[in-house]
Symmetry: C2
Subunit: 356 residues, 2 copies
Amino acid sequence: MLEDKVRLAPVGLGRWARVLARGAQRGDVVDLYSCFSRDEQRRTSFCEEFGITRSAGSYEELLSDPDVEGVIVTTPNDTHRDVIVQALEAGKDVYTDKPIAHTLEDANRIAAAVTDTGRVFAVGHSSRRLSGHREMKRWIDDGRIGDISLAEANFSNERGLELTPKTWRYYADKSPGGAFIQLGVHHADTLQFLLGPVARVTAHARRLYTKSEVPDAVMAICEFASGALGYIGTGWASPGVYTMNLLGTKANLRYDLDFTHWDESHQADDWSTLRSQFYGESVRQPVPLPRTDMFREQLDEFALAIRGQASVEVGAVEAVRALAVVRSVLESSKRNGEAVDVAEVIGSAVATASVS
Amino acid sequence: MLEDKVRLAPVGLGRWARVLARGAQRGDVVDLYSCFSRDEQRRTSFCEEFGITRSAGSYEELLSDPDVEGVIVTTPNDTHRDVIVQALEAGKDVYTDKPIAHTLEDANRIAAAVTDTGRVFAVGHSSRRLSGHREMKRWIDDGRIGDISLAEANFSNERGLELTPKTWRYYADKSPGGAFIQLGVHHADTLQFLLGPVARVTAHARRLYTKSEVPDAVMAICEFASGALGYIGTGWASPGVYTMNLLGTKANLRYDLDFTHWDESHQADDWSTLRSQFYGESVRQPVPLPRTDMFREQLDEFALAIRGQASVEVGAVEAVRALAVVRSVLESSKRNGEAVDVAEVIGSAVATASVS
């Protein structure tokens, strides 16, 4: 425990800011010191809920407070660039929720600001921290699973059926890819954490049952540089699903998490199972998992990194890679399923940024 | 029970002929009356194992036996056309294991012979008869699952790691598509049974860990005419997997079968679970399933159809549709994941056949 907790300020005080604030308060490293939203009522109720004694009347005011060491950004994806770059340039360290941004151009601008300012920057690709995924990584690294040929992941819930024009996620320009940029991006990061970089993707996105502008059914095949094939399915029109299956030459692993308990990440392990299957086994054996708390852990890590006592696991590089898969998926779908080179999509974003 | 059982003769007396013969003998409709393989030793041991009192020394001899009412074909895929057409033209009814053939040209030739001869013809797309899939169909038909956005299926096992040049499945010209034509074709049929025709596919096939000529990792995205998206994954380099998940606007269904018990289909239900998930449910409820026996049922149905007491569920039309998905998957993979129109692949096969 730090004698002097790290003073962080949530920015954008919606539902997700609350989930993260609860995560931070389960730890003993973060002091939720101040906060900001343009909406005064939101500030007041957020302060009340989390026992925060001050808030800022403007973002500039927040960033000029010398006691604020870092900000926790949960504003809409299409505002990330401005909110994050402004904070970095004001000398604040930044944690942002995933995706890093909604476009690679914005993501690259953020990455450049991180490099220029040298600030600590962390992106909330929390799902790779789930105990089941950490255990999968150990099985891959120590060879227990053998060589992986197929990796299959799904992350779906009902949000697309509930979207109204009042929420930013309803709009294609603010939340391009719908279910895939909000949910699929988690698997895009976790699969690359487990299996290395995705070289190419082939995908189809459909708007089937949502009234919003964005897809509620997306399927993507990822070709890993290693040769393995990956599948990511995301839907926004069904009860919640969070699964990942790895098929290896020595064993299979199947991870299944009850999405109902996603937000309370200290309890997620109680509602998830990792099962192994070796040759000839009819019973899939549960693999014991150490307890984790993904939201707490990532905020603790960010806070400790600010004090030089930890390093950030998911920074701009990893987050850009995850977003690049998302953008490649959308590009492939636009091209009717044509295989799209992830490096090309990253490259063309860099080219666009440098001429703009 | 028939007073006078239907006299059938297995042709091609390998491992699969035995699995089917055991299925037939669990019923009380089929009389395994004779059999044929070019290998005399195989004939002798097959007759012994199943209590068959006669066998034929040549295929012509078998087909000229007026007491043989139908044949059960389990010869290699690339021999189906000749073996089946010869039987049909000799006035025998034919059951063949899936796929109907290894090419659409061969499949069309078979379909034409079925039409010309008017014989009973059945294809062993057994998996749609699994109790879990029958129940899925009831949930779709009565609206319990709502509208389906995503359907995900996997069928994998370790066969690709075991293939040697001594088996026909080793060779690309005899078993094109490897894992996908042998395993994926089941899901290609079952998904179309459940969700209607597949309009287009996008796919990647890889040869990763097998020493054979055929792919051991294949992933395909199917676009159904209904708008739903389907995924089929097949591998030949891991412990056995057989799963299908349906994501609907009202509920999800997840079916999981232990492949270890596939061959003994009267026990498969003991090793499979269908689970439902409605909104807010943390526990996936097991759905009670009536007991089934897919191999027995399809052979009973075939035999009863010979006597005009049943109709065949999976004939040439359905089997060609399943094979067309397989061939489209291979074509898409060859074209680097480009989306391929299933109707075009069927059409070009018809065009090729009519000029050859």
